[in-house]
């Protein structure tokens, strides 16, 4: 019971801090908007998917990208907490590190999902056909996608002493995962080199993006899907589980 209240308070803290950070919320509109409006309308890729225009195609991908970048960036909260001393308050509290990790992780995931919702709303404003059921189905899926990604960010941050190194590792992980996920262009078919297809298949984000497309594009995507939704979610869930175990371990050894 005590542990659950500790978990709740850590979760609430992450969400409150996020909602109070107006700059971050405002800036969260900008990047996806640039992708959707400029990239999405400017690039005239000939998709091998009849019935879908490019903007429709990348919209789930941009949601995936937002989830990826936001989730990874959340790791920085560990570094801030350490820099400003609050980490000590958490580390000496009589609450197990597993719950500390889960509180922070699910709190950060909640923040990332809020970012995802913002992109969803942007899509509505841009005239992409969406409805409330898609939205309700999307919420738990977005949350599932962020768990593993936030865990990576928190794990990396827990190993790092300073803010400086964090940015570098971001670009070593974020961009490869993003480009290899099929968010912007298809990574299967005869014209794509084999190594690229394999790399894409090894990328957990590939399945996250496929899951988002399965939900958002619905029947229009079914003929082109990598695999059915439940299989996508199975892989993402497995990835989450592994990353959560690693993250919990990383927090246990944190001093």
């Amino acid at each position: 019971m005590t542990e659950l209240r500790g978990f709740y308070t850590l979760w609430l803290r992450e969400v409150k801090r996020y909602l109070r950070d107006r700059v971050r919320i405002v800036s969260s509109f900008v990047t996806p908007l640039l992708w959707l409006v400029i990239f999405g309308t400017g690039v005239r890729l000939s998709l091998p998917y009849p019935g879908l225009n490019y903007q429709q195609y990348i919209f789930p991908g941009i949601i995936g990208q937002t989830l990826l970048f936001t989730s990874m960036f959340m790791g920085i909260s560990v570094l801030w907490d350490r820099e400003f001393g609050f980490m000590k308050e958490i580390l000496v509290a009589p609450i197990s590190r597993t719950w500390v990790f889960l509180g922070k992780m699910i709190g950060d995931s909640t923040d990332a999902v809020i970012q995802g919702i913002i992109v969803f709303v942007l899509g509505l404003l841009l005239g992409i056909k969406l409805n409330i059921f898609t939205f309700l189905e999307l919420l738990p899926i977005m949350l599932l996608v962020t768990f593993g990604l936030v865990s990576i960010g928190l794990t990396l941050a827990s190993f790092m002493g300073s803010l400086e190194g964090f940015g570098t590792i971001q670009s070593f992980i974020n961009l490869p995962l993003f480009f290899l996920s099929g968010a912007l262009f298809p990574l299967k078919g005869a014209s794509i080199p084999n190594w690229l297809q394999i790399a894409s298949r090894l990328n957990p984000l590939t399945y996250a993006v496929d899951a988002l497309r399965n939900v958002i594009l619905g029947g229009a995507w079914t003929p082109f899907q990598i695999q059915p939704l439940w299989m996508d979610l199975g892989i993402v869930g497995l990835f989450d589980l592994i990353m959560i175990i690693i993250g919990t371990w990383a927090f246990t050894r944190m001093k």
Partner: protein, 330 residues
């Protein structure tokens, strides 16, 4: 249980450096126990072990009857800590910080509001309770941290350099709170400090620490008594003549020249002061000035270590600059 804290040969080594070396101390329930020593003496390391932040290299210790390694969770529930560096969440209000703490320490929900209001009143932060703590001054944050350390009714409150970097007025305030807290909550306080006056004014007992070892442990007045006594410093026109008068006619053997003055160590300085002046006058020696100094902890420290305890000002200044840099970075 007689002792709230007991350590047995408690040792912490960082590589080859023994930060804490076979420490044996006992802290009585209800006292204010001061750990005094220069920076790097091992005070914070000692506290960190007792707070279960660091694991000892060897030796054992119990806090509130719980082993600091095997029963770390129980120890954590028994203690409150105010760290050397600030540790409040500056994006949260004072009240929110306290509420988080209450939740982390499992304070029953029904009691939370009551306790939070009480500690806010104690440290006089009621009016600012709902402001973000980033708008607080350094002293206010410190007071909030003191308040926070008390919400879960700890048996022992650890204060690591509670007044470092605070202005004299705020230090006075914090001292007042610490004493009030102890009275009101009947808790044991363990504090580290490198300020002599702080240890002197607050502590029931003081352990002087240097190079990871306790070199003296007693009440402030007993520690001072271990010194020979008061020091009288005399300046006169003929110091050599005065020296012989004092050693031969008055029989005070512990007298020696220091620069342009004479220092005499005596047991009862107050009554000797006028007699020295009288004797000097009788012997046609003109006394320019005479000063009596009762021993303070500085002398005690000097006595035991052969060094003065110099607050490491460069480090403190560096710390302040660092804090400012962080504040600017936000």
């Amino acid at each position: 249980m007689t002792h709230i804290i007991e350590t047995h040969q408690l040792t912490k080594a960082f590589n080859s450096l023994k930060a804490v070396d076979k420490l044996d101390i006992t802290v009585e329930s209800g006292e204010i126990f001061g750990l005094l020593g220069p920076n790097g003496a091992g005070k914070t390391t000692t506290i960190s072990m007792l707070c279960t932040i660091l694991k000892p290299t060897s030796g054992t210790a119990t806090v509130n009857g719980f082993d600091i390694v095997k029963e770390a969770m129980q120890v954590r529930k028994s203690i409150g800590i105010v760290f050397q560096d600030p540790s409040v969440d500056d994006r949260m209000t004072g009240r929110e910080n306290l509420l988080m703490h209450a939740n982390l320490y499992g304070v029953p929900t029904s009691e939370q509001n009551n306790r939070i209001n009480n500690v806010l009143k104690l440290v006089e932060l009621e009016e600012r309770a709902d402001d973000l703590t980033r708008t607080y001054s350094g002293g206010m944050r410190r007071r909030l941290e003191l308040a926070r350390g008390l919400i879960h009714y700890p048996k022992v409150l650890f204060l690591d350099e509670p007044t470092i970097g605070l202005d004299p007025q705020t230090r006075d305030h914090v001292w007042k709170y610490i004493r009030e807290l102890k009275e009101a909550h009947d808790i044991t306080v363990v504090l580290t400090t490198h300020y002599m006056d702080e240890a002197d004014r607050l502590s029931d007992r003081i352990a002087i620490m240097d190079y990871g070892k306790i070199i003296a442990l007693d009440t402030s007045s007993k520690l001072k008594e271990t010194l020979e006594g008061d020091v009288i410093t005399v300046k006169a026109d003929n110091l050599e003549a005065l020296l012989s008068v004092i050693t031969e006619k008055m029989g005070l053997q512990k007298a020696h020249m220091v620069d342009d003055a004479l220092e005499i160590t005596v047991q009862n300085g107050k009554s000797l002061l006028p007699r020295i002046v009288d004797m000097a006058t009788q012997n046609k020696i003109y006394v320019e000035s005479i000063r009596l100094r009762e021993p303070n902890l500085e002398d005690v420290f000097l006595h035991y270590t052969g060094r003065t305890i110099r607050p490491d000002t460069t480090k403190e200044l560096h710390g302040l600059a660092e804090a400012r840099r962080r504040a600017a970075a936000r």
